[in-house]
C-alpha cells in the first residue's frame, strides 16, 4: 500500500500540474490536457495500426540494440587484446560517440534504405556505450584471478568462460541498460526525420504536420510507457542471472 502510494502520489501531482498548465494556456492546439491525451491514447490503442507501428518500431530498436551490442562486444575484446586494433579502432569509436545523432541520421539517410535507417542509427548509438563499458571492465579485470587461471592450467576458453565473462557481466549489464535508452530515443528520432511506412516516429511526424497535438502527446506517452516497461523487463532479465 505504501509502495503504491509512493508511486501514485508523485504521478498524481504531475498530472495535476499538467492539467493546471493546460487550463491556464486554454488552447488544446498548444497544450492539450491529460484527459484529452489519455482519451486519444485509448482511441489509438484500439486500432490495429497503433500496434503494428509499435511492433515495427520495437523490431527496429531491438535489431539496432542487438547488432550494436554484438559489434561493441567484439570490438572491445579486439581493442583490449590487440594493440594494433586499439590504435586503429578506438579513435573511430570515440568519433562515433562524439558525433550528434542528427548528423548520423542525415548522413545515413544518404547511404541506406529509409526502413533501415532507424536500426542502423540505434546500433551506432549502442556500439560505443557497450564498447566503453566492456573496455573499462577488461581494463579493470582482476589480475590475481587471471594469474590463478594460468597457475591452475585453465585453457583460454575456460578462462574466458569461468573468469572473464562473469567478471564482465556487471559492466555489460550496466552498459546495455544505458544503451537501450539511447537505442530507443535515437531510433524514434530517426523514424521522425526519415519516416518509414510504419513506425511510431512516422505517426509522430504525421501528428506534427497535421497540428494534431493530442496525437503527438499520445504517441509520446506511448513511447515513454514502452521505454519504461521494456527497461524494467531488461533490468529484471539482466539481474536474474546475477547471484544474490
Amino acid at each position: 500500500m505504501k509502495k503504491l502510494l509512493n508511486t501514485a502520489a508523485p504521478l498524481a501531482f504531475w498530472l495535476l500540474v499538467w492539467a493546471l498548465c493546460a487550463w491556464r494556456v486554454g488552447r488544446a492546439l498548444l497544450l492539450p490536457g491529460p484527459l484529452a491525451v489519455g482519451k486519444r491514447l485509448l482511441e489509438l490503442a484500439g486500432t490495429g495500426d497503433f500496434w503494428l507501428s509499435v511492433g515495427a518500431t520495437l523490431g527496429r530498436v531491438f535489431l539496432g540494440l542487438g547488432w550494436g551490442a554484438l559489434a561493441g562486444t567484439a570490438l572491445a575484446f579486439a581493442t583490449h587484446f590487440f594493440p594494433w586494433a586499439d590504435r586503429l579502432i578506438s579513435p573511430a569509436i570515440r568519433v562515433v560517440r562524439a558525433t550528434p545523432v542528427v548528423s548520423f541520421i542525415l548522413l545515413v539517410y544518404l547511404w541506406v534504405a529509409r526502413g533501415a535507417i532507424p536500426w542502423v542509427i540505434s546500433g551506432l548509438m549502442v556500439l560505443p556505450v557497450v564498447w566503453g563499458a566492456l573496455c573499462a571492465g577488461l581494463d579493470n579485470m582482476d589480475e590475481k584471478l587471471l594469474e590463478l587461471a594460468r597457475a591452475y592450467r585453465f585453457s583460454r576458453l575456460k578462462t574466458l568462460r569461468l573468469v572473464c565473462l562473469p567478471a564482465l557481466r556487471p559492466q555489460f549489464a550496466a552498459g546495455l541498460l544505458t544503451a537501450f535508452g539511447l537505442a530507443w530515443k535515437s531510433g524514434v528520432a530517426a523514424e521522425v526525420l526519415c519516416p518509414p511506412a510504419r513506425a511510431i516516429g512516422s505517426r509522430i511526424q504525421q501528428a506534427k504536420l497535421g497540428l494534431e497535438t493530442a496525437d503527438l502527446f499520445a504517441w509520446t506517452l506511448a513511447i515513454v510507457a514502452l521505454s519504461l516497461a521494456l527497461e524494467g523487463l531488461l533490468r529484471r532479465g539482466l539481474g536474474k542471472g546475477e547471484r544474490a
Partner: protein, 193 residues
C-alpha cells in the same frame, strides 16, 4: 631433490632474493618459516614458475605439474564450492568434488558461494581446490591462515596421506611442528637459510 641455485629476484629497487640457494628433499612435508616479508612467498612463486628470477636456476620441479595455493584465497565469487573443485579436476567423476570438500571438512557447503563462507571456510575451500588440482608437488602459502587448530591438525594429516611432496610457508608453530622438516629463512633480502 628440489634445487634452487643462486636465485636472484628484484622488485623494482627492492632485492628480495639475492643469489639464494637451497636444496629441499622431494618428499614429505617441508615448512618454510621466517619473518613476514623475508621472501617466503617469492620463493614459493619462483618454485611454481609464477615469478621469473633475474638470475639462477631451479631444478627438480616441473612448473606444469605443481599445484600452488596462493596467499589469498582467490575464489571466484560467481562459482559455488562444488564448482570450484570441479573446475580444476581434469575429468570430474561422480562424487569426486564432494570427496575433496570432505577433505577440507566442507561437507554441506557444496552449494555455497564464497560470500557465504567464513574466512576459515574460504581458506579450506582454496586448499581443497589446490589439492584437487594435484600434481607432483604442492606449494602452499599460509595454507591454514584462519583455520582452527583441531581442523588444521586433521587436514594436515590428510595432506600427508596424499603422498605428494609438499612445501609450505607458515608462521603457525602447530604446522611447523607437524612438518617433517623446517627451513628457517632470514631476510630480506633472502640470502641464506
Amino acid at each position: 631433490m628440489i634445487g634452487l641455485r643462486d636465485i636472484t629476484v628484484r622488485f623494482g629497487d627492492k632485492l628480495v632474493l639475492d643469489r639464494f640457494s637451497l636444496d629441499i628433499p622431494a618428499q614429505g612435508l617441508t615448512a618454510l618459516s621466517g619473518p613476514s616479508g623475508c621472501g617466503k612467498t617469492t620463493l614459493l612463486r619462483v618454485m611454481a614458475g609464477l615469478a621469473a628470477p633475474g638470475g639462477g636456476a631451479v631444478s627438480g620441479i616441473d612448473p606444469g605439474r605443481t599445484a600452488f595455493l596462493f596467499q589469498e584465497d582467490r575464489l571466484l565469487p560467481w562459482r559455488t564450492a562444488t564448482q570450484h573443485i570441479a573446475d580444476v579436476l581434469p575429468r570430474p567423476r561422480r562424487g569426486e568434488a564432494a570427496r575433496w570438500l570432505a577433505f577440507a571438512e566442507l561437507e554441506g557447503e557444496g552449494g555455497a558461494y564464497p560470500a557465504a563462507l567464513s574466512g576459515g571456510m574460504a581458506r579450506r575451500l582454496a586448499l581443497a581446490r589446490c589439492a584437487a588440482l594435484g600434481g607432483e608437488l604442492l606449494l602452499l602459502d599460509e595454507p591454514f591462515a584462519g583455520v582452527d587448530s583441531e581442523r588444521t591438525a586433521r587436514i594436515l594429516e590428510r595432506l600427508r596421506g596424499l603422498g605428494v611432496p609438499i612445501v609450505l610457508a607458515t608462521h603457525q608453530p602447530q604446522v611447523l611442528c607437524a612438518c617433517d622438516r623446517m627451513i628457517a629463512l632470514e631476510g630480506p633480502p633472502l640470502t641464506r637459510v
